[in-house]
Amino acid sequence: MTPRVTVQAAPFDLAAEMTALLAGRVDVGGLASFVGLVRADEGLAALTLEHYPGMTERAIAGIAAEACGRWPLTGCTVIHRVGRLPPGAPIVLVLTASAHRAASLEACAFLIDWLKTGAPFWKREEFADGRERWVEAKAADDAAALRWAR
């Protein structure tokens, strides 16, 4: 099973992605999903996501393959959007299917946690008053820092 990994500007169709992971199968007992969305905190008007074409997809495919090694997944889909997104817009989808509920739930949480810390994406916030700023990584979220600082 090869995980499906996509970085795209377009919205994703969660129902269609779920259907694809289940089509023709009777061995899936649990299907977990996580959708991350843009919040309108502090008057946020839009969020713009930038990525590193090539490396980002490779990095996500690598971690998705790792998840498939750690948990017995029958299906795994990761879709991350880029570009300018308004409040309420979906940013990221993680879908994990397994015979067992615990495996699907744990793999889903693992993947979304990793996307926060390990995938080359950068977020710029635009506010209603015209301010703009790059979102700063939380220390806890910056897994790559160790590699550099050691």
Binding site: K116, G118, W122, W134, E136
Partner: protein, 83 residues
């Protein structure tokens, strides 16, 4: 050597990518950062605080001691904020 810049590193440098041919003394990421910081005021601003900079060599996360060569694709960017 093909360089890529992302997020505020790109904004400060003023370029998304560039091809450079640094002197042979530039052998690793730390040497490349020192070389780039002297290249223009924009580069100097981008690399003013190397602790805020992350690097990938040929699309793999790198550290200051990672070797760099003429055929490499090298990217500089802030800590990632995806998900």
């Amino acid at each position: 050597m093909h360089l890529l810049y992302f997020a505020w590193v790109r904004q400060r440098v003023g370029l998304g990518e560039e091809d450079i041919a640094p002197p042979p003394a530039v052998r690793d990421v730390a040497g490349l950062v020192a070389f780039l910081a002297a290249r223009s005021p924009g580069h100097a601003a981008a690399f003013a605080d190397p602790r805020q900079i992350r690097c990938a060599v040929n699309q793999e996360f790198a550290d200051p001691t990672t070797p760099v060569g003429p055929e490499d694709e090298i990217a500089f960017f802030p800590p990632v904020t995806g998900g």
